[in-house]
């Protein structure tokens, strides 16, 4: 009950947000939303199923590039280009997943690291298609659909785009919640907890890992497509291995394997740099220190730490330590 009210308040706040903040912060919130989608996607493979994928930024990049190329070169509508980019990502991720998911633990991480590098090199050097390092410019925002209730939505406006992204974030969260209750979601968690045991229980581990990989890639492609049409220009430098690594860090700081973790993590990732408005390099140094402190002291992430703080056992221990409650015996 308490939880439901809390989430209701969060959603309400997110909906009312454009009333309170100026255009710049709304811009940041749109970026947060897009980032949040990416991390929610990563959460499905890394947080719930286990393998740490470093290819998330590549799927994000492929989604963004496909959608951008289809709309700028072939003149397709965004509403056709986005599903097509999702379709492409399904094909690519099934293929790559079947190949790489046979590897376990950090071998998988290293293999996806290689994939990410390969895809970056292709984006950076395949000049006739991707326009090389200078990237693609003048990507149009999504067109308005001429159908009555939808024709009111004008996605070239920032407020409308904010709601558009928010819609996808809420959709992904709801999807994740229902996924976890389904047979597939339970299989994911079983694989994360103990792969051997899951196999012994009769779960087809490889199949479910590929499913998780593909789902996370689809979410990344949607996010990439939203990103390309929001920012209206993309360059290969936005989809490097460092972006992948950053996504993993954001997930771990927020708390992997939780719903609130990715949201909290991406909020922190976008907003903290803006609040500490200092040289980007110094900011990154501070960020690096925080990452290490988090891994060493709070490996369960902020959400996990919050849960621990609120758990009955911890409160009891604290009160006992502070001598607020006399010991039972």
């Amino acid at each position: 009950m308490f939880k439901k009210i809390f989430y209701g308040i969060v959603v309400l706040l997110a909906i009312l947000l454009p009333l309170f903040v100026g255009p710049y912060y709304l811009h940041l919130m749109v970026l947060t939303g897009i980032y949040c989608l990416l991390v929610l996607g990563l959460n499905i493979i890394m947080g719930y199923t286990g393998p740490a994928s470093l290819a998330q930024a590549s799927f994000y990049g492929i989604g963004a590039y496909t959608s951008a190329i289809l709309t700028t070169r072939l003149g397709l509508s965004f509403w056709i280009a986005m599903p097509l980019s999702v379709l492409l990502i399904i094909i690519i991720s099934v293929f790559l997943g079947v190949i790489t998911l046979r590897l376990v633990s950090h071998y998988f991480a290293i293999a996806t690291f290689g994939l990410c590098e390969i895809i970056f090199i292709v984006m950076d050097n395949w000049v006739p298609v991707t326009n090389g390092p200078s990237g693609i410019h003048d990507i149009k925002p999504p067109e308005t659909i001429n159908l009555f209730p939808l024709s009111l939505i004008d996605l070239s406006s920032r407020v409308h785009y904010y709601y558009f992204v928010l819609f996808f974030v809420i959709l992904t969260v709801v999807f994740t919640v229902y996924l976890l209750r389904s047979r597939m979601g339970r299989a994911f968690v079983a694989i994360r907890e103990d792969e051997e045991l899951a196999r012994a229980e009769g779960i087809y581990v490889m199949k479910y890992k590929v499913y998780a990989f593909v789902i996370s890639a689809i979410i990344a492609a949607v996010s990439g497509s939203l990103f390309a049409h929001y920012l209206q220009f993309i360059t290969p430098g936005m989809f490097t291995i460092f972006e992948s690594l950053n996504l993993v860090i954001v997930l771990l700081i927020g708390g992997s394997g939780t719903i609130a973790g990715p949201i909290l993590g991406s909020l922190i990732n976008v907003l903290i740099p803006e609040i500490f408005n200092i040289l980007p390099e110094i900011r990154m140094v501070i960020y690096g220190f925080f990452v290490i402190l988090f891994i060493v002291f709070l490996p369960e992430g902020l959400v996990g730490f919050g849960k621990k703080l609120l758990s009955a056992e911890f409160l009891k221990n604290i009160t006992r330590k502070l001598n607020l409650v006399p010991a039972a015996d």
Binding site: G114, N125, M284, G288, F289, I295, V296
Partner: protein, 285 residues
């Protein structure tokens, strides 16, 4: 023909530098199970140290290199003691810590030293020419020193008591503790030795090419390709793979194109991970 030999020689030189980096990563992987992406940062630290000592303070190159290598070792020791030691149980956490370190060191170096290209003045100038083939003296020097360091390292791991202890920890750390090996100290030392090698690689790179705070990423990624090709944790494998990758790279850059050259090594890398994850010698874990 002369271009062929020229590329081959360049490949061997660059391969020997990659090899130094790869051995360090192999050590931290074999002993701690940590994929240390931050290993390349020791390259930058040592290169900048040497650059400043040589250029600003006019210290002799050899003495400056020695100081830089020792300083890098000390920094490495501190890093191992206060960060990686806490991540030994969980390899993914080790990976994350190394990313945090990359953020700190790469950006810290940009703030402290600036993003400009720097070059360490080479000790040996001039060239030797054999027919049409030209060898720069500095390159020959780098190649010989790198090979000597690797050979020394190999002998150390195989013969010295400490080296044997390191191999024992990498085989089975629990059994090593039971045999009375102080594993914290052994792992710390192994990490520091890895830092020494990376520092030597950094100085070599700085004296042949240029140094910027972002120099480290390429040799680092090559080093990962190398340890995969050689088999994870296999020192002999890394040694051989370093030269293969160095030469292959040099040929790909010379005959195909510089931009697309990298993609071949990554494709090889993934194919090896999938089909022969034990590496070319089959010694990997």
């Amino acid at each position: 023909m002369s271009q062929f030999i020229q590329q081959l020689v360049n490949g061997l030189v660059i391969g020997s530098i990659y090899g130094l980096v790869a051995l360090g990563i192999t050590m931290s992987f074999g002993l701690m199970g940590i994929v240390n992406f931050a290993h390349g940062m020791f390259i930058i630290i040592a290169a900048f140290f040497t650059y400043y000592l040589v250029t600003l303070y006019g210290i002799n190159f050899f003495f400056a290199s020695l100081l830089a290598i020792v300083a890098t070792g000390i920094i490495g020791f501190i890093i191992e003691r206060y960060t990686f030691r806490y991540a030994r149980q969980d390899p993914i956490n080790g990976l994350m810590i190394s990313i945090g370190l990359i953020y700190i060191i790469e950006n810290g170096a940009t703030v402290l030293f600036g993003p400009e290209n720097k070059i360490i003045a080479p000790v040996f100038t001039g060239t030797i020419s054999l027919g049409e083939i030209i060898f720069a003296n500095q390159r020959i020097f780098v190649f010989i020193v790198s090979c000597l360091l690797m050979a020394f390292f190999y002998l150390f791991i195989k013969k010295a008591k400490l080296g044997k202890a390191m191999r024992a920890v990498s085989e089975n750390d629990y059994a090593a503790v039971l045999m009375g090996i102080p594993i914290d100290a052994v792992i710390g030392l192994a990490f520091v030795i890895g830092c020494f090698l990376a520092a030597a690689a950094g100085i070599a790179l700085g004296s042949l090419f240029i140094v910027t705070p972002h120099t480290a990423s390429k040799p680092l990624m090559k080093a990962f390709v190398i340890i995969t090709l050689g088999g994870f944790g296999s020192i002999r494998g890394a040694f051989i793979a370093a030269f293969i990758i160095g030469v292959a790279d040099s040929f790909a850059a010379g005959y195909i194109s510089l931009a697309w050259a990298d993609i071949f090594s990554y494709i090889i890398f993934i194919l090896i991970l999938i089909f022969t994850p034990k590496g070319i010698l089959g010694e990997g874990k």
